[in-house]
């Protein structure tokens, strides 16, 4: 079901955790709230879940105001970062909990729990207790428990961050597949940009309680609207607009005169001999070989009126022919340069 967040604000003492946040989420969409810790993403999720009351603004589900609906009546499924399976109950009882709250019959409950167990591939673990399962398994049970009552929205609060890297990647796939199969509107909070980029249909980037940008992963990556988003998602060189880097007015920048430009490292190409006079010339400062990619730090040749400017470029391969102190020319396609301010 579509979910609307309208002008939500929330303060804790003097700290503004949420500052006039609005967002519309379509049915079956997976949206990620992405941002550094303390940006308000978890608070927003808790407001949506009904665990926190907003100071202002409303949350609407299918055009119905949820302001006076308590968490337990919202019919949202929630998965917490720290698993929070009830330790005194078996896996089976954990998954059945939400159904018992809704007074399902014994027969229907059994059918649904078994269905959920097979959905997360844990049929043989039903009678174990949470502490007997691995972290990844526990989080799959938490997912099954949240999905069992057929919630209208699924809320995931950093569901993968307590897991180790390999399990995290597996579960990422599993959640995405499950979400698409069930076509359930899903909100996931994360501080991991890779997680957001690979899983989300849309990403909402937040900072200090405010929305910095909302868009598809590719929009967020390729067309960041401000320096914060540009630097938070992937790497980006942020430079003043008047140092001679060519740019086109792509992305519909509407300000008066552009002040700041952003260039992704992979879009700065290095060519050996300095060619013509107009090209940018820099000196190699540092070379960082990462295996398949080589990261090169280059300081531009000084131009009057500017402090020395350092750019990072990424080139494919091992960069064997690069040397520190060597002069190179930088080639940048104007189409890939982003006007940020």
């Amino acid at each position: 079901m579509p979910l609307d967040i309208r002008n939500v604000g929330k303060s804790f003492g003097r700290i503004k955790a949420l500052d006039d946040v609005s967002l519309s989420i379509g049915t079956g969409e997976l949206i990620c709230f992405l941002g550094p810790s303390g940006c308000g993403k978890t608070t927003l999720l808790r407001v949506i879940a009904g665990l926190e009351r907003p100071d202002s603004g409303t949350v609407l589900l299918d055009n119905q105001d949820l302001s006076t609906v308590p968490a337990r009546k919202r019919n949202f499924g929630m998965v917490f970062q720290s698993y929070t399976l009830f330790p005194n109950m078996t896996i089976w009882a954990n998954i059945a909990y939400g159904l018992e709250c809704r007074k399902w019959s014994k027969k229907d409950t059994a059918l649904q729990v078994n269905k959920m167990l097979s959905l997360v591939h844990l049929e043989d673990q039903a009678h174990k207790y949470p502490h007997q399962l691995s972290g990844g398994q526990q989080q799959r049970v938490a997912l099954a428990r949240a999905l069992a009552p057929g919630p209208s929205v699924l809320l995931l609060d950093e569901p993968l961050s307590a897991l180790d890297a390999k399990v995290r990647e597996e579960l990422r796939e599993e959640i995405k597949t499950l979400q698409q199969r069930l076509e359930i509107t899903t909100i996931m909070v994360t501080h991991d940009q890779e997680e957001a980029l690979t899983m989300a249909d849309r990403i909402m980037v937040m900072k200090d309680g405010r929305v910095m940008q909302t868009g598809t992963p590719m929009e967020i990556y390729q067309l960041p609207e401000n320096p914060f988003v540009a630097q938070f998602i992937g790497r980006m060189n942020i430079v003043p607009a008047d140092i001679g880097i060519p740019f086109s007015s792509n992305g519909g920048f509407k300000g008066p005169t552009p002040k700041t430009l952003g260039i992704r490292p992979e879009n700065i190409h290095l060519l050996d001999p300095p060619e013509a006079e107009e090209t940018l010339i820099g000196v190699v400062d540092r070379i960082l070989r990462l295996g398949n990619v080589t990261r090169v730090k280059i300081t531009l040749k000084k131009r009057s009126g500017h402090d020395p400017i350092t750019l990072v470029s990424e080139v494919q391969g091992s960069g064997r022919d690069l040397h520190i102190g060597e002069e190179l020319s930088l080639v940048i396609d104007p189409e890939t340069v982003r006007v940020l301010e």
């Binding site: 499924g77 009830f86 949240a146």
Partner: protein
Amino acid sequence: MSISPTSQNRLAQSFIQRTAPMDQEALLKIVVACMVALPLIVFVLYPLIHILGKSIQTPEGIGLGNYYSVLGNRRFLGLVYNSFEVTLVTTALAVVLAYVFAYGIQRTKVPVKNLFRLIALIPLFAPSLVQAQGLLLLLGRNGLVNRTLATDFSIYGYWGIVISSVLYVFPYAFLIFSASLAMADNRLYESSRILGAGPWRTFLTVTLPSTRFATMASIFVVFTLVITDFGNPMVIGGDYNVLATEVYNQVIGQANFELGTVIGMVLLLPVALAVAAEKMFNRNNQIQLADHAQPMAIMPHKLRDVLFTVYTVSVSLCILAVVGIVIFASFTHLWPYRMNFSLRHYAFDVQNGIQPLWNSMYVGLMASGIGVVAAGLGAYVTERFKTFLDSPLYFLCLVPAAVPGMVLGLGYILAFNNPSNPVHAIYGSLLLIAICNVYYYHAQGFLIASTSMKQISSNYDEASATLGGTFARTIRKVTLPMMWPTLLGVAVFFFMRSMVTLSAVIFLITPSSQVAAVSVLLLEDRGAVNQAAAFSVCIMGMVVASLIIARLILNYFGYRNISLIR
């Protein structure tokens, strides 16, 4: 100033949003919070107000006359001096002795540590005046030493109070230091060694600073216990009077409630300050171990280990001797004249017979039942409800810690011995004694429950709520199953304290509602030392039995790491 219609609208809207009930549960939370607050107001604040009221009541009307006459009185100033002299000396001795003992247990290779730890805690299981009782049997005029060595010295008075008080408070200080010394990051000690510091320097630069808050806490706790203790000075003080015994003498001896309340108020002040200081230290300075702290590895060190073993054995022997002689005396025919074995004192051939023991048990059981509900609910409400009542309620739950037991008991007489007060219906009953014990020990019980509640993530409640669980279901299915071992611990705590306490209940007993600890005092006062000893032994037996039962239950369900003794 004019308000445009739209902004008026918005104002109204935001008002409705803020005041509209989220649902009945929000209301229920307020109701439950008030249910927790109400008995605290009735059974703690209301009696205190009565004490204050009585203390400013003079024949000439309301005024500070009572205070002037007390404070201008030489004898009274002498009592204040005595109280502080005893308390400060005891505090200094007990804190140092307990620190070294705890250090021996936690940081050296003393053998059979668990046995020594248990011995250190024995005074907690006995009525609070057992130390004075035992000390008299050992060193009194008719004591073992005078009798066997044909000497004639007396332990009555200042030193008697100090020694028995040190033994009385020893386990409290030991528990605090033991917990603090158990937390140690081995890496700090290794760094210190690698940097070339010797053991003494390491102790001064690493160990001592890491236990300074425990030291402050135990100083305040011990100070409070000693200055308000009344059983030991009563029994062994002789002519040496202190404030606590004076309250009793004024009220019971001379029925002078005004003076009793004034002295009670004077006693309240240093106690309230000490408790406030202790809470302040505790709040700001919870020492926490770093995430990657390494457990302490104790290196053997022959001289150190031998010295500490000698020390722990000596202290343990002192504790055992005092309690042991009471047990021994209870089995003699007539101490100290006919020392042959006899069970006749266990016939309880005294006034009221065995009834006080039954009364104690009923009071203990009621107190543990009421205490678990009161402290558990208080902790639940303040930790989980997130209403505007949280911090006033938290404060209210801790107030009893600052009230000396005698002051609370005196307040109960003044407040409830009045037919127009509804509580008067249970005045003189065991139930009111149980309630008095619950609210006297409320702060400690509340803190035990609240600490354990903090360790259980509130996400469990939230998970239940998002799954559709009601408040009641969440408590029944999620919270209680996770909390019950702690709550059992809280129940044992209230039972134990109710069995051994004297000061809070001394003003509330009637001949039919006498409890065993008071029997010990009265019998001791009459010189019936054998019978008094027998009562003490029975109290200890019941406390130890309750601990064993609770431990067996916890072990059966696999909760081995819940500590029962606090």
